[in-house]
Symmetry: C2
Subunit: 571 residues, 2 copies
């Protein structure tokens, strides 16, 4: 079995002991993508190094621009840099540098050899990256144009589906296809099924046909059925792509002459028991199955203007904090599956957090928008993280405004009523502080603020909470306002937290994941939440079924020359 | 292993050879429920016969009003009869006749001993019944009042959650609880998680707490958290329940003095190769994995008025057809899991179908409403059926109005262009015919008409289809209007259908189920679709995981005295 990540326990004892997967990278180190910007247009060229798989070339070769987690980590990095380092870029052309294919999707040998948890985590990250591309167009004036200059199959076509406009070269052989079902016995699970019908409005019966036809659809028919926006003969290809890019660029509100913010390497120290950045740290308790995360507030007042903030570059607290939190979430999710509970603490001066919040959410500066959207995406990662999230609100904390979202994203929150008498009897008791930032600036995937989702269907309770805006609430008041779950005092605190953690560790990890995935998302669904809820949940089920992952299943048999053998009973 | 249904293939070779599960029953034969009506108020008393389990008392005992499929079949029958046989009933009180519990939910030994497919099918049916109870209040003026006169745990509380008003006896011991996660390592999957947050607006962090606390919540706290509507001391119980029932009844528009329609026993003949009713029949081809279903249109013109129709009782075509189709869907889903493809044909006079449609959908007669709503629920069953549905539209068919919904519910449809030259060269070519009935009278679970869902996001295409209302469309026109998928002629027909069927049989049944569950539901979600999409998909995944269903999993270990052993990795 191939292993993408170290396996502290379980059935992959024979897997090579790999280092933790790192999500930090930069264009100079890319092995699979080229990023080039020319004024308002950037081009992201996929040219996967066959021998550059994350698990090493002995395990699988990334032929035909197929990808693994390592390839997608670079894509994610590029997507992020395009937002921050290239404020002038209005259109990103995604195309292939491989002369045989646009992209063949996730590498099948990689998938077949991955453990269930690795497959699921890989799909989650790839989905988040593609949602981020759509977020760029919808909220940030940076559209993605898929220039499909060869066959796009499976995840390759799903990558195109995540773009805002799809051009397919019309050369009689280049097709778009979703062969997952007929060839592999799994779903087009990287948003494919959902985007076909919900985004591209492909009729369900045509979608059915497309998803069962491994050779896919070419040229005019792909246009007629809505699978692509345009089919272009090779002779006109380059001109037409450039023309469409210019047209898409014209609709953008990105700044013409702003200087980008370089996303300098994150300072990160990782040991077996801790992960530390400048503003974020996590202590890893393997015996208890807990990652104790602390987010620190700014240690200076906010700069007076966004221009001044931009001058601080990647060191600007709001941006630095978000990057670190983002990296930590990805790291823990991928490398520490046995740490099932994350404790979320903050530490710092709430007033300073609000100062930074005001600057970032109260300005129409392009960088302010980018930071706010990045924080929103990062908090959405928390919402779909398959870990129990418990917020601990203690004296010295700064759960205010944007950082209060950490508590609102948590499955439960505990706020100390009073102070720790033995530790610091003179401390100010912990408070939470709601602001306008909590009322819509950082929406969940379903389009609601975490506050709206929390009080879904109970407008009176929502209004009561909103009435507290700007007022620090001590434990009893915060509990009465429904902003925290429990408010134990010093005498009960340690026991209650310990019991909650032990209890969590005693439950079935799968059942917790399923429960959290349901009750975190009260109310409406969006394409994004359907991808993580409906589509992903079905895909995960299929990944677990012998018909896909068993020794005679389609995923394992693919490429062996042997046909899969199916249990024909429908479930 | 306990088996609920015959297993034509698979790993239950040692299971007793049971007869097919029958969904037809009647109050005189109930073993687990008592139905009593008194004017506007009916009482449905659950009093499960411990030794009356479907698989026999040697396999499990239905203690504490726990239930299996057999118990739920009786509940479904009662819910249906309350709609048709008791038009005057405005409120149904659901209560327990067991002196130890209200209801302990699905029987755990039954679940632990069931195959995966049996568990999933069982949950689907129980969910449909509970959705049907909500449909009664929302659309038909018949509210359900849960009179929880003892502890309601797991599926027992979920049964109460499906009611419109929940009263809990306040005796210091009776609780509502969802112990599935802590005790069994599975979810409250019969709508529980979804209804907690989406219907009862229980705050997500409190829902988290409730779902991890096996002992549940009693009395006042259950009211404060929104888990029940009212907690009533024993001394006032009977009076208060009666009072609330009267209040709920006052808001209803059910007729005061209508005579009910007796749901007489369905005439059904079942052999190994066919299932036949009066208007519906299915031929079962086990080699091909196909059930070929034919629905016959009425053989007389519609009666002139609904009163006349009511005089025909259960023989009235619209009602008879719906009952037969409903029973067939349930039978095939439960007893024939290896028949993965259902062919849907109709036969009859389209004009007569429209005549019945007009009577049923154009009248405010209580019976007309009931039949329309029943057909809507039955078509919703098709939408969530894990079989490939292929509509075959041939000369002599009557895919018009309500029966056109069968083709619109299908994953694909084939309409013959022309006639079968060798068979009947003089026949009229097949036509489809759209009417107002297709524009909203029979909504899907997501609230859209099948037509709206089909053309989701493409208003022009929807309008083009609607413009054809009332006009019979031959194959080419129907295909151009997007109402059918393919329109082969006589020369290609047989081969194309054969290939489609063979292809379907060659694919992974699980992947087909997952694909269909996604692309059938373009657009918005509702509580109902979230229960079948998000909640059920996660539950199915968990049912497949060793942490629940493995030999050391929580579901298998429950009651053995041994603790479950979990793989602690989060996925």
């Amino acid at each position: 079995m191939t292993s993408l990540a170290p396996q502290p326990t379980g059935d992959a004892a024979s897997a090579p002991a790999l280092s933790p997967v790192e999500f930090r990278t930069e264009p100079d180190r890319y092995r699979h993508w080229r990023l080039a910007a020319d004024g308002q247009i950037a081009t992201l060229t996929m040219d996967v190094d066959e021998h550059g798989g994350l698990a090493g070339p002995d395990n699988y070769e990334l032929k035909l621009n197929s990808y693994d987690l390592g390839v997608d980590i670079e894509l994610y990095d590029a997507v992020q840099r395009l937002r921050f380092e290239y404020p002038q870029v209005r259109v990103v052309i995604v195309t292939s540098g491989n002369d045989k294919a646009f992209c063949a999707g996730a590498n099948i040998r990689m998938l077949a050899g991955s453990e269930h948890g690795q497959k699921v985590n890989f799909c989650k990250f790839t989905n988040e990256t593609r949602n981020g591309m759509e977020d760029a167009a919808r909220n940030s004036g940076q559209a993605y144009l898929a220039a499909v200059n060869g066959t796009a199959s499976g995840g390759g076509y799903e990558l195109a589906l995540a773009c805002d406009y799809i051009m397919l070269i019309d050369d009689r052989s280049s097709a778009v296809s979703l062969p997952e079902l007929p060839l592999l016995g799994v779903l087009p699970g990287t948003g494919g099924l959902t985007r076909l019908v919900d985004k591209r409005h492909v009729r369900r019966d045509l979608a059915d046909y497309v998803c069962t036809r491994p050779e896919g659809v070419t040229g005019r028919k792909a246009v007629t059925w809505g699978l692509v926006d345009e089919a272009v003969p090779r002779a006109q290809w380059a001109d037409r792509v450039a023309e469409r890019a210019r047209e898409l660029a014209a609709a953008s509100d990105r700044p013409a002459a702003a200087a980008g913010i370089e996303l300098t390497p994150l300072a990160k120290t990782r040991t077996d028991s801790s992960i530390d950045y400048t503003w974020v740290s996590a202590s890893l308790d393997r015996a208890a199955g807990v990652a104790a995360i602390t987010v620190r507030g700014p240690d200076t007042d906010a700069p007076a203007t966004m221009d001044e903030a931009a001058g601080q570059g990647a060191a600007f607290w709001s941006l630095a904090l978000t990057r670190e939190l983002d990296d930590l979430i990805l790291d823990l999710r991928t490398n520490e599956p046995a740490l099932g509970t994350w404790l979320l603490r903050t530490h710092g001066d709430p007033a300073r957090v609000l100062g930074y919040d005001e600057l970032v959410t109260g300005s129409d500066h392009w960088l302010a928008r980018e930071i706010r959207l990045y924080l929103a995406r990062t908090l959405k990662r928390l919402d779909v993280t398959s870990r129990s999230l418990i917020a601990l609100i203690e004296p010295g904390s700064c759960f205010a405004g944007s950082l209060l979202e950490l508590a609102l994203a948590a499955d439960r929150s505990y706020q100390l009523d009073g102070v720790f008498e033995d530790e610091d009897p003179d401390a100010d008791p912990a408070a939470v502080l709601l602001t306008d930032v909590n009322a819509g600036a950082l929406p969940m995937g379903n389009g609601l603020s975490r506050l709206q989702c929390r009080f879904y269907g109970d407008d009176a309770a929502l209004q009561r909470a909103l009435d507290s805006k700007g007022k620090p609430l001590l434990a009893a008041d915060a509990a009465a306002a429904g902003l925290v779950t429990f408010a134990p005092d010093d005498i009960d605190w340690a026991d209650e937290i310990r019991l909650a953690i032990e209890e969590r560790a005693s439950f079935s990890p799968d059942a917790l994941t399923g429960m959290e995935a349901n009750i975190r998302f009260a109310g409406p669904e969006s394409m994004e939440t359907k991808i993580f809820g409906r589509l992903t949940a079905w895909q995960n089920w299929i990944f677990n079924r012998p018909n896909a992952a068993g020794p005679e299943g389609a995923l394992r048999r693919f490429g062996t020359g042997q046909r899969a053998e199916f249990d024909r009973k429908r479930v």
